[in-house]
Amino acid sequence: MTPSIITLGPHQLALEEPMYFKVELEGDTVVGLDVMAGHVHRGMEHLVMKRNLYQNITLLERLCSLCSNSHPSTFCTAVEDIAGIVVPERAEYLRAIADEIKRISSHLFNCAIMAHIIGQGALFKNVMQIREIMQETKEAIYGNRMDLAANCIGGVRYELTPELSMYLGQRMELMKAPLDELYRIYTTDPAIRVRTEGLGVLPRQEAKDYAVVGPVARGSGIAYDVRKKSPYGAYDRLNFLVATETSGDVRARASVRLREAQESVSLIEQCLTRMPDGKSCADILPEIPAGETIAKSEAPRGELIYYLSTDGSDMPARLKWRVPSYMNWDALKVMLKGERVTDIPLIVNSIDPCISCTDR
């Protein structure tokens, strides 16, 4: 059979963002893939060099709104490391809270879109409605439903009053039953299992070869989580399990995300219990000497790494980062090979791809 080549865009792929695939088909079976990136390329690695370290806190938060908090918090960690700033313990917990809130929202959005692709309209709306609990929570605490503006050099610039702490605790309580129910539905519902089990498989060895990260790696049995491997902030004092699955299919990745959302609820509760009183930000205008450093974190989609080099001014000499999605696109070649063309959107969604992150 002669292979044919089709181009798929965001509408066919059920993506919120423009990304295009060239898919090579034999009949309706995928035999090859070329990812055509760059549509959301905003030249951000160049822009950050034209902006000072303070401006970059806000600019980097706009890299991607689904993992928006991971960028300023990891970037600020890099600046703090170079400047030798000790972040107050309370701020470490407040950063973890912000990151985990974003993780729950991000994972739920991905699971919602998955239901949409499968054609489960009611479940789609149900997950979006549950996610609204998180959206309202973010707006009430941070003032915006997507971009939290939580971080600054030296700590955070938001506070949890006793009232807000209690409110957040209540909201987490509100999330527990729905998250348990979603986990049950996504892992046991026959209509979902039939579409997701054994689909888009990434075996463990390929996961290693392609160097995938985050829930994609963990769904293929690689128990790598930056919060455990390179602890930062408050995570060395928090208890949580690294969710893994071994089947490496669409179902496994969804299962990992939903278990992580449950763990995030627990992490936020632990933060609320253990967080000491005190300052939430060190010295507001620190000296930032020349230096270079690496800062890493576990963003919703996996390992995020920042490299920062400074020259003693408040402009970065070089600021580079690599987002988790960047690592996962290529593995689609393995996941899609031999699958039917109609399953492409579901498999693509299962890596929870972030295009604005990838393109920068």
């Binding site: 919120e16 789609f124 971009d147 610039r157």
Partner: protein
Amino acid sequence: MATAPKNLSEPLLQLYRINAGSCNGCDVELATTATVASFDVERIGCSYTESPAEADIVLVTGPLTVRVREKVLRAYGEVPEPKITVAVGVCPISGGVFRDSYAVDGPVDRYLPVDVNVPGCPPRPQAILAGIEEAVLLWRARRDGVLPPPVASQPHPEKGAVSTGVRGKMDFNPAACVGCRMCEHVCAGGAIRFNEEFTGLRFTLWHNSCVFCGLCRHYCPTGALTVTDEWQLAHRQDQKYHLTTQGIMPYAPCSGCGELLLPVAPELLRVAFRGTGREIDRLKSLCTECRQKQSIGGRRR
């Protein structure tokens, strides 16, 4: 919600989304207006379409990257007249934080006519709905060949009704400003400018370039900038460049030599000295040179 009462006899107007290279924040919020009951666009007489040929209203997000420009313009061109275009978020309106990048070609009104702007980063769904309602009014007027109704005299009906700490537009108090320009320095969106004018130092904040992050407030030493919960900022295109907050810090003559200077704001003295005494009051109206002379001359040790 704000303006357009739902007219049951009208068919649903079709909304078509174009992502012009956005960070996905506005797009995710647009998705909530299709899925979350309380933000449902059907309540305001609209629904989403995947086909530009069926659309009445175009919603554009993102700063318009070089790479998507042709695709955006092609999709826009497929939408039949009469059409109304809404710029959702500050990126399509002004480029936001991405302006002046080699890879960004916006604002979108360089290439296609925009009718309604919805500032915010991202705007909350309520603000997006208000912008779409405005677009519906304009669409009907254009279809009927009449002038659009005047802008409602009360454009912010829900202001104050929201008790949450929504980060809305910034406010500025010139009496507290010391002209240190730290706000301008830390602003990623380039939304703040200081201009030295004949009578004083002018502060201008353009809300269509502001991403509502509040970093200016964080670094303002005297609290001259505050975050308000005013989030309903959707406006017609003719208001685009008028959406500013300004203030003038007037110059005053040095009490020594008469040269014009920016007087020290009381807020700075409060921050620096936790109050003032006679000596500080005397020195604060002097220019740097006169102050040096007088304080060295009057030095006691």
